[in-house]
């Protein structure tokens, strides 16, 4: 037993296996947790070559030598999967009381939450790959087909078309030719008076596709006799628009409305003189929580509080995340009818701390102040200023 008891206890507490070995890679010491990492058929025997015990050491000989010569301080290999567990491998030099230099390798287990996080990443990757693959296939199809283009006479009857249109509509060309273009494309400008028009059309999968249609008049002796229409798929712009609308009004972490949305709602209520109460919540020591448990834990805490608040509210109330660690609730109810709800909100931290992992229970608390419309302020800006002032006073107290 070369490693002292305290170090062993620390390793045990943090679910960390260790192995101690010399410069000839002979195993000198280890703790019981190491058995979870090695294969069943491997025997943990003192004096055994560590490369026979743990596969990840194979190939690391030169790195270990550099460590031994103090050319580097640490070898760190993260996220090694073994027996359904992930662990980080850290190797350092340990100098004994007798001055002998040994290697100590720590196998640091990833917590349950990290594993959940990993599973989430896997799921995202899976979805991304599927999207990417289908996008590639679509792109490939598009490469084979030109832009959709067709020619219409002055009455809007399709007189000629390219393969891309037949392909898009999944129809034979002769089934399309002779029909009015509005049979396949919807537009507000049936007379094709503008150079650029938005067309919509349903593809065979019944999905609405948006096209930017460029109208090119074909002329003979200065007179227009037909129009050629070239369509460019701009559906992705619609998707971008939707995403931008979402991001401008919602918080992507908690999926709650953001400050922008809340202010619009306050505006809407005050314009019709509808009374309401705003509760403003500020999480105490949020920076310290991030520092102590990491940003992932901080994010989980925000999601935790968001869910608790949402669960506690009525459908017509609006819970919003209005700052990094600030929430607000818009209650469409008078203050006197709200007292018990506010009391319940105050008790959230006491009753429901965040259970981040088996080992980590994160206690938290928050400041809360309220403002009433129209009793205390008459417009959105005034309400927000009152809330800020009250919050400042609350923090000072």
């Amino acid at each position: 037993m070369i490693l002292d008891t305290i170090n062993r206890l620390i390793c045990q507490k943090h679910k960390t296996s260790f192995m101690l070995f010399d410069k000839n890679f002979k195993l000198l010491d280890f703790n019981e947790l190491l058995k979870d990492i090695v294969d069943d058929e491997v025997s943990l025997t003192f004096g055994e070559d560590i490369r026979e015990i743990v596969w990840s050491f194979i190939g690391l000989e030169e790195e270990l030598l550099a460590l031994f010569r103090n050319e580097k301080k640490l070898i760190h290999i993260p996220m090694i999967l073994k027996n359904d567990h992930y662990y980080d491998l850290d190797i350092e030099i340990l100098e004994t009381q007798e001055g002998e230099k040994l290697f100590i390798a720590y196998f640091i287990y990833k917590s349950k939450n990290s594993i959940e996080y990993i599973e989430m990443i896997k799921e995202i990757n899976k979805k991304t790959l599927i999207n990417e693959t289908s996008k590639d296939q679509e792109r490939q199809m598009l490469l084979n087909k030109e832009l959709i283009s067709f020619t219409v006479d002055l009455d809007g009857i399709i007189v000629a078309l390219n393969d891309a249109l037949a392909y898009f509509l999944h129809l034979e060309k002769d089934k399309i030719q002779g029909s009015h273009f509005s049979t396949f494309f919807q537009t507000r400008n049936l007379l094709l008076e503008d150079k650029n028009i938005i067309f919509t059309a349903k593809n065979p999968a019944n999905k609405v596709i948006y096209f930017n249609a460029t109208v090119l008049p074909l002329t003979k002796n200065g007179k227009i006799y037909e129009n050629m229409i070239i369509c460019q798929d701009i559906s992705y712009l619609q998707e971008v628009k939707k995403k931008l609308e979402y991001v401008s009004e919602f918080d992507t972490l908690t999926a709650l409305p953001n400050k922008n949305y809340l202010l619009q709602e306050i505006d809407r209520h005050s314009m019709v003189h509808k009374s309401f109460v705003i509760a403003y919540i500020d999480i105490k020591n949020f920076t310290e929580i991030n520092k102590e448990y990491g940003f992932h834990a901080g994010d989980m805490l925000l999601k935790h509080i968001a869910k608790l608040l949402e669960d506690m509210m009525r459908v017509e109330d609006i819970v919003a995340r209005i700052g990094s660690n600030q929430f607000a609730v818009l209650f469409q109810i008078s203050y006197k009818n709200l007292l018990s709800t506010l009391e319940r909100i105050k008790h959230i931290p006491l009753n429901t701390p965040l259970i981040y992992s088996k080992e980590d229970k994160i206690d938290f608390s928050f400041y809360m102040v309220t403002a009433q419309y129209p009793e205390e302020a008459e417009n959105t800006q005034a309400i927000m200023e009152i809330l800020e002032k009250k919050m400042l006073r609350e923090k000072v107290q």
Binding site: R51, W55, S56, I58, G59, L60, E61, E62, E63, I75, H76, I77, P78, M79, I80, L81, K82, Y86, I118, I121, K122, N125, K126, T128, L129, I130, E132, T133, D136, Q137, Q140
Partner: protein, 164 residues
């Protein structure tokens, strides 16, 4: 005497690195896609050697390959997906990364998913062989059917043993 050495699989995510390892080690294949996070190390014993196969997480635009995984490798298997041309074009970048960490080791390239309709862009595929003089073999593989998978690993095994 058995030679024991480390080989690292490298490629963009979703190209089939894990599937190639599974086909080589267990002669099995699963249609289900589950991306590798971190590294999974598998062992394969051949006639003359024991290969430690480091199946590392794929490169994505959000996450580069972690260089520590490449340390001490005696050979690399680079994998591209024949249905995704970007993953083939990325091979050059992966080779530069490998040479930056461990120069002068043999490399074999698997152009995977050859069993499904693919790009078959002759020009791009010819370019692959020319990326580095350390490339000992380029094979169109299919982890699903097993096509050229054994050959891929054996080509690298042979090159590594000859180079020792």
């Amino acid at each position: 005497m058995q030679i024991v050495y480390k080989v690292v699989m490298i490629g963009d995510f979703g190209v089939g690195k894990t599937s190639l390892v599974q086909r080589f080690i267990n002669n099995s294949f699963s249609e289900e896609y589950l991306s590798t996070i971190g590294v999974s190390i598998a062992k394969k014993t051949t006639e003359h050697s024991t290969i430690m196969l480091w199946d590392i997480e794929g490169h994505t635009e959000f996450k580069p390959i972690f260089k520590q995984y490449l340390l001490g490798a005696k050979g690399f298997i680079l994998v591209g997906d024949m249905t995704r041309i970007d993953t083939i074009k990325a091979l050059q970048h992966h080779i530069e990364l490998c040479h930056g960490i461990v120069p002068d080791v043999p490399i074999v390239i698997a152009l995977n998913k050859a069993d499904i309709e693919n790009i078959e862009n002759a020009e791009v595929l010819q370019q692959v062989e020319k990326i580095s003089s350390h490339i000992v073999k380029v094979l169109k593989t299919s982890a699903k059917s097993g096509e050229h998978v054994e050959e891929l690993f054996h080509a690298l095994d042979k090159a590594v043993i000859e180079g020792l």
